[in-house]
Amino acid sequence: MQRFRTVATRAVTIAFDDIDTDQIIPARYLTTVDRAGLGGHLFHDWRYRGDGEPTPEFALNRAEAEGARLLIAGRNFGCGSSREHAVWALMDHGFDAVIAPSFADIFRKNALRNGLLPIRVEGEMYTACLEEAASRAIFTVDLKNNVVTTPARTIPFRIDPFARNCLLEGLDELSYILRHDDAISAFETSNPSGSSIIPPRPARGGH
């Protein structure tokens, strides 16, 4: 995973509550075996009409959205399907962070594991973010100091310290998990749920 670096950017606002991952990336674009290349389908059915032409009023299609790396969304962002493709599509499009009053649990975890920063901002501070975005302010997202700053405001945010450390260091959780190999083996020996469930088939090619 790439280290999360401080970013200064304008913001795009799609401030609906409960934006589900089917809107972020419709299921028909999940028939891929790669992570890359999903940005073109981001918010596809809101972004394009049935005939494939862009929907002019949709936030991502407006001229001011060009190059924005921060998305401001409504409450419970990323609800529904667990598809990590939603995070890949947002990042492939160029987003580094999302500000919302709350996030769906699976989306938040997926985002953190890919380096897309989910920033929870509520109440007056959230309203302020919407206003600043509308006035095309530059937002600086600074994970080192846990703040988003605009010319007018400093907005502190909280984030899981373990995830924060992984993001700042560009650390992969799997490397951390695999360091506990002995503990995992010890657990397997004494697992109360039994030792094995499915008779395995042989692996091919040296795995």
Binding site: F16, D17, D18, D20, D22, P26, A27, R28, L30, T31, T32, V33, D34, R35, D45, G50, G74, R75, N76, C79, G80, S81, S82, R83, E84, V87, S102, A104, D105, I106, K109, N110, R113, D160, F162, E173, L174, Y176, I177, L178, H180, A183, I184, F187, E188, N191, P192, S193, G194, S195, S196, I197, I198, P199, P200, R201, A203, R204, G205, H207
Partner: protein
Amino acid sequence: MPANRPRTLYDKIWDSHVVTEGEGGVSLLYVDLHLVHEVTSPQAFSGLRRRGLKVRARDRTLATADHVTPTRSLNIAAAGELAAKQLRSLEENCEEFGIRLYTMGHEYRGIVHVIGPELGLTQPGQMIVCGDSHTSTHGAFGALAFGIGTTEVEYVLASQCLLERKMGNLRVECEGRLRPGVTSKDLILALISKIGVDGGVGHVIEYAGPAIRGLSMESRMTICNMSIEAGARAGLISPDDTTFEYVAGREFAPTGAEWDRALDRWRTLPSDPGAPFDKTVSLDVSGLEPFISFGTNPSMAIPIRSRIPDPAAIADAVEREQVVRALKYMDLGAGEPVIDQKIDVVFIGSCTNARIEDMREAARIFRGRTVSEGVRALVVPGSEQVRREAESEGLDQVFTEAGAEWRLPGCSMCLGMNGDHLAPGQRSVSTSNRNFEGRQGPGGRTMLGSPLTAAAAAVTGRVTDPRDLLRV
């Protein structure tokens, strides 16, 4: 901690799966069962290959093909070029890494959350994960089961473990007893409409109370399945004799002395009296009517004999705007009765409602009736086993004689990845779990209901109270 502190079912499963307590409240948990399917796994296998890692516990990993599989033919080419490539990729990955796979043509293939339980893989007290949000289904057995993203699929393949922070614990107390013609699907839609699509965020739900105790395992699975639609990654039900009777004798269930030991362990799982919950919600189900959704998320659901909400009567501006948008998308009129709204398609299937009991419920309505002119009705069993059982009971005949299409198992029109989808503007009544915009196809309009409600709509061509056809 003191040994005698009363614990919830969630506490007990959590405690028994902690490999190590990590830094800052993050624990490493062991996964007993990892279910894999074609859509969310290819990038995880690529990751393993890149890192030179193998699958740690092949005896705890099972793959099936379900999301993009064709339902008219066993030939994977029938689902389209990209879908076929994804299915071939799953076959190659499972062969290379040594994972048991139920692919097209296998007698046990089916929707991942249908086959786990029916094969006896899903057992009380387990920790189960899958790259699919409806993994919550398995919680009906008193297993801690939740959906994960593809990066975590890779972690579990490599290590059989996940880093987790403990969630809150929400108890949903269901009083009373469902009336005839009212199902567990109606119960869960009623609950989601009450607590909202984010009512369970940050929590694991435990469903309890006499209304839950009286339900079959299949009905319980429908409830736990839709926990994620209330924002909860996992839904749990304490195991009881109904659970044990369901598991006993299934393909991968323990046998002999192992069964006795398992049973002793499983009986200790239910939440202790007085165990603390972070939140409790009560729902009296005695007066419940069949529920149907009118909007574009599962909380926008109402009793079938009531009227579609009028946004003008909604005080909260954000919620009002959401309903305005939803009604416009659904092409439904504010304040109109939901009953008699015209529909084009009926889909009976999905991990929510495609088990044998759902097929039997649908057949109760279809028997001796015909699908309304101009309506297309699809009945898609959840697995090959469900298909065979339904056919041995003659249910397929009931469906096809009524004019419905009897298809091969798969996720099908729940998410429309395999070629089964709504045309723009079509309205469906569907037994699936999500009525999001475009979920069943771009521009498609989904109304969620039980198998009874869906079948009733198929034969009348309109939203219909199934109790009128059942004469209950």
